[in-house]
């Protein structure tokens, strides 16, 4: 999970969702659905969060939510992994664009 390794879609979108700031599980689920159209269930969200936490990519932060939901935030290694993945996707997108595969683009 360092440098150039592709991230799985679930990991990428969860990290992406947390890029703007700490969120609780349900908010992540919503954000992922918005950004990717992926319908993610709570088991996948919390399971992935737990694994990412073990890897040091995200961390639980003290909750300020009234219902004391668990809130997770992006950690620097997670941000670096996300950036690497974003660069990879950008390069990929550039390649796709160069091959004029997307209709309507010049």
């Amino acid at each position: 999970m360092r440098g150039s390794e592709p991230l799985t879609p679930a990991v990428f979108h969860i990290l992406l969702a947390l890029a703007d700031g700490p969120l609780h599980g349900y908010a992540i689920m919503q954000a992922v659905e918005l950004s990717s159209g992926l319908a993610m269930g709570p088991g996948t969200v919390y399971g992935t969060l737990e694994r990412l936490e073990s890897a040091g990519f995200v961390g639980e932060v003290t909750s300020r939510e009234p219902d004391r939901r668990r809130v997770f935030a992006l950690r620097p290694p997670g941000r670096r992994a996300l950036q690497a993945e974003a660069r990879r996707l950008a390069a990929l997108a550039a390649l796709v664009r160069a091959k004029r595969l997307i209709p309507g683009e010049t």
Binding site: Y26, M29, A39, G43, Y46, G47, R51
Partner: protein
């Protein structure tokens, strides 16, 4: 009523499918999410998504939970708030689990290490008991033994005159003490017994720095000619004979029938330096009663020890003693040709010096063995580390630092060597029992061997050191794996050239060390063999010996002594199973023999020298019983009586020395001064190794026991019975003892031994060293065979694809064999070359331990090399054959 109550119950039930830790942490959030989902998207859609999600998420969460332990191991060096102790404990627990999991690795490496550590601990136990434990004297490096040496003797006693000279002329010695030793009959107040005793100077106890635990030592006033008969007794005798009764002081003990007053008891660990290796040390010490005016420089019969004055070095004292010895020659007391000098050794060198070389050699050898074991385990660790590269890479990727990973691997090696040490200690304990049971006679203090705190510390130290030795290199190597390689494709990295080289170096080192051990063992065994080949000059098989001494009080007259032995021998010869019996004053290889000045008829000694010969006294039957070889003439017979012609036998050396060109049989000599009667030579016997199996044979003469009191003077009361048996000599002990009892029920019997045992005792140090070295070498060969087998197996499995391609390209079996075996031979021959060079250099160190074998003995070296090459090639054959059986199609499909 909360909405969707039933759904929430079902949902909660569903959550039980998640691992407990996960559920405990997220259940609240997940229930809340479910409620929100149900509200926003409707119960049916919410359930569909939940179920689809659970089918993917539950297995993942479960796997994750199972990997929990491992994940925690991927932590950075210290978690926030975690103490070092907790982290270390964690590492150790993890290490134990990892070792239990890889059982094959543990099964091979644990015994290897246990053997190495156990052998090292066992030898250290011996070294500890013999060399390191404190000696029973105060400052044993500040007191010296003084011996005489001249052309005939390398190291022998001093004379009364020399003692007086050293006492009055020295500039460096605070006390000079002397003693002699022998055996004495103790009677009165218990069973008669024969006890080793010594006559000592009053200052001996002060010189050794040991005071009596009860009563006093010998007073100066008692240590004068015709002084009172007092005795200091040993702790063992005090406990055995007097039940440790403190009121023993002032009581009388009868020694050889004469009453002595007990004035003191020595502490339990007190021994004379000359008794250090003696299983039956002296237990009675009476005054030597030196005459300070004596100028007897001829009779060398006393041991001497001296304590250095403060500030004097041992070298300084030795120089002082040499100076005094040189003065004796300058003043004409000793003839120049005698080349009289002294040997000065500290008490420590005196008692442990003779075995120190052998023990240090064994210690070094066992160190080599341990290194070989370490090299083997290091190789195994490396193979294992490589098979765990993925684990390591994942852990590194997940943030475990280099320090963390190296520490984790070191924890594993530490746990491994700790376990090996535990087994090793069991092994050492067993080995120490075996050594104690064997009990090589010439190595002192083996009886005191124990696994004490020093041994435990040593073993612990060795465990830590070895774990660093075999753990560090693989740990550092393992961390150098290419992480990205691993993570990208999850396949085996194609690298490993470096680790292959590391393993090769380990195998070459093992081979080299094994060659050194093999060559060393070969040299020692060759030396032992040539020692065993030495013909002692007699036939030791089926010969029983035992010692008797007639007390002067009841056998005052010479005739009584002579008659006793004649009668006893007649009775013993009549015992069934006895082929022949005789008696002798000084038993070859058992008690040292000294010489007597001679006047040989017709022999003119070179100016300043005199004829001399070791004096032996024997009865008729002795030569036949001992199997000594008669060269010419006749042996002593029953017809040689005190009233017949005085006769003697001489050995070949004496015949050559004093009768060169003349016929000795019929020749004459006088023993001692010119007033003594002529003794006629009636026979020549072969040379006998008397004072040791090696060394020069000196002139020696044999006088009949019946005639000694006529030819020289006093009768010889102490004799050793020599009985040749037709069967097992020890089966005769009972009947011989019975015959002695019938003649004199009060006569104690001592030193019941067979001649075979006596000869074996003379070989015990080389036999001990040789046997241990040989077993170390055997283990070393096995270990290095395992090592080369492992490296080649790994090589073949690594290069399966390459071999497959070669076979597919038409390479035959020969080429494949050449590929693998060629590699093996490179390793073997490199190890051999280094090892032989090392062994040639090292062998010089053990030169003084070798008899009749040069340190560069070609036979030993060639055998060692051939043996190692043979074993290593056999070990290489299995992987080689596997390589030839590689199926090219399968090999190419593998990757």
């Amino acid at each position: 009523v909360a909405p969707h109550r039933f759904s929430r119950i079902v949902y909660r039930w569903l959550l039980r499918g998640y691992p407990r830790r996960f559920r405990q942490r997220f259940q609240r959030d997940m229930e809340a999410d479910f409620v929100v989902m149900a509200e926003r998207m409707g119960l049916l859609r919410a359930w569909r998504r939940i179920l689809a999600d659970a089918m993917r998420a539950v297995p993942l969460a479960t796997i994750h939970a199972h990997e929990h332990t491992m994940r925690t191991a991927m932590r950075p060096v210290l978690l926030p708030g975690e103490s070092t102790m907790q982290a270390v404990l964690f590492d150790l627990r993890y290490a134990v689990r990892a070792l239990v999991k890889s059982s094959l690795f543990t099964l091979v490496s644990l015994p290897t290490l246990a053997l190495g550590i156990g052998a090292a601990s066992a030898i250290f136990t011996v070294v500890n008991a013999v060399l390191l434990r404190p000696l029973p004297w105060r400052e044993p490096d500040r007191a010296v033994m003084i011996w005489s040496t001249w052309t005939a003797f390398d190291k022998t006693w001093i004379s009364e005159g020399e003692l007086n000279a050293y006492r009055s002329r020295n500039r460096t010695l605070a006390h000079v003490a002397a003693w002699n030793d022998g055996q004495i009959n103790v009677t009165g107040g218990g069973e008669p017994e024969r006890v080793a005793y010594a006559q000592v100077t009053a200052n001996l106890f002060t010189t050794l720095g040991v005071q009596p635990m009860l009563g006093r030592g010998i007073a100066r006033a008692e240590d004068v000619p015709n002084g009172p008969d007092v005795v200091v007794i040993g702790h063992g005798l005090w406990v055995r004979r007097y039940a440790a009764d403190p009121s023993v002081l002032g009581r009388t003990i009868r020694l050889n029938g004469r009453p002595f007053q007990i004035v003191g008891v020595m502490p339990h660990d007190f021994v004379l330096p000359t008794d250090f290796a003696n299983p039956e040390p002296t237990q009675l010490w009476t005054p030597l009663q030196v005459d300070p005016a004596s100028t007897d420089y001829g009779s060398h019969g006393w041991y001497a020890a001296a304590r250095l004055r403060p500030g004097v070095s041992v070298e300084g004292a030795a120089a002082d003693v040499h100076r005094m010895a040189a003065a004796l020659t300058r003043e004409g007391i000793h003839p120049v040709q005698m080349r009289f000098d002294t040997v000065v050794l500290t008490l420590r060198d005196e008692v442990v010096g003779p075995v120190r070389g052998s023990l240090l050699l064994l210690f070094g050898a066992v160190g080599f063995l341990l290194l070989i074991a370490c090299a083997n385990v290091a190789n195994l660790m490396l193979v294992r580390a490589e098979s765990r590269q993925r684990e390591t890479a994942v852990r590194a990727a997940l943030g475990a630092g280099a320090g963390r990973i190296v520490r984790q691997m070191l924890a594993e090696s530490l746990v491994l060597s700790a376990a090996a040490s535990a087994f090793g200690l069991v092994f050492a304990w067993t080995a120490v029992r075996v050594v104690a049971w064997w009990n090589p006679a010439s190595i002192p203090r083996l009886a005191e061997m124990s696994l004490d705190w020093r041994v435990l510390c040593f073993t612990a130290g060795v465990a830590v050191l070895t774990s660093a030795l075999f753990g560090l290199a693989p740990a550092l190597r393992a961390f150098r794996v290419d992480l990205t390689d691993w993570l990208r494709d999850g396949q085996r990295s194609s690298g490993g050239v470096g680790s292959q080289r590391f393993r090769s170096v380990m195998v070459v080192a093992e081979m080299a060390l094994a060659v050194v051990l093999l060559a060393g063992a070969g040299l020692m065994l060759r030396s032992l063999w040539s020692l065993q080949k030495i013909h002692p000059g007699f036939n030791p098989s089926q010969v029983l010996t035992l010692r008797l001494s007639l007390p002067e009080a009841s056998y005052q007259r010479s005739e009584q002594v002579v008659l006793f032995y004649q009668q006893l021998l007649e009775r013993v010869r009549a015992v069934s199973g006895v082929k022949q019996a005789g008696a002798v004053r000084s038993l070859p290889l058992a008690s040292p023999i000294g010489d007597w000045g001679l006047q040989v008829d017709g022999y003119v000694p070179p100016p300043g020298t005199g004829a001399k010969g070791d004096w032996e006294i024997a009865t008729d039957g002795y030569f036949e019983a001992m199997g000594e070889h008669l060269v010419r003439g006749r042996t002593i017979t029953a017809a040689d009586r005190s009233d017949t012609q005085l006769v003697a036998l001489i050995n070949e050396t004496m015949a050559k020395q004093y009768w060169s060109g003349r016929d000795p049989v019929g020749g004459r000599f006088k023993i001692g001064s010119a007033e003594r009667p002529w003794v006629t030579v009636v026979g020549i016997v072969g040379d006998v190794r008397h004072n040791g199996l090696t060394g020069v044979t000196k002139e020696k003469f044999y006088v009949p026991h019946t005639q000694w009191h006529v030819s020289v003077g006093s009768p010889i009361r102490g004799m050793t019975l020599v009985v040749k048996a037709s069967g097992d000599p020890l089966s005769l002990v009972g009947s011989v003892r019975r015959e002695i009892r019938r003649l004199d029920a009060a006569l104690p019997i001592a030193d019941v031994r067979t001649m075979d045992d006596i000869v074996a005792a003379n070989l015990s140090t080389p036999a001990f060293t040789g046997a241990l070295l040989a077993s170390f070498a055997a283990i070393a060969v096995v270990l290095s065979a395992i090592g080369i087998y492992g490296v080649l197996s790994f090589l073949v499995s690594r290069r399966t694809r390459e071999i497959g391609i070669r076979i597919a390209m038409g390479a035959g079996r020969t080429q494949v064999v050449r590929l693998v075996l060629g590699r093996a031979l490179t390793l073997i021959l490199s190890g051999l070359a280094i090892g032989v060079t090392g062994a040639l250099l090292g062998a010089r160190v053990i030169r003084h331990l070798l008899h009749d074998v040069t340190p560069a003995d070609p036979a030993s070296f060639l055998t060692a090399a051939a043996l190692l090459v043979a074993v290593a090639v056999v070990a290489s054959l299995v992987p080689t054959l596997r390589a030839t059986r590689v199926d090219p199609q399968a090999a190419l499909r593998v990757e």
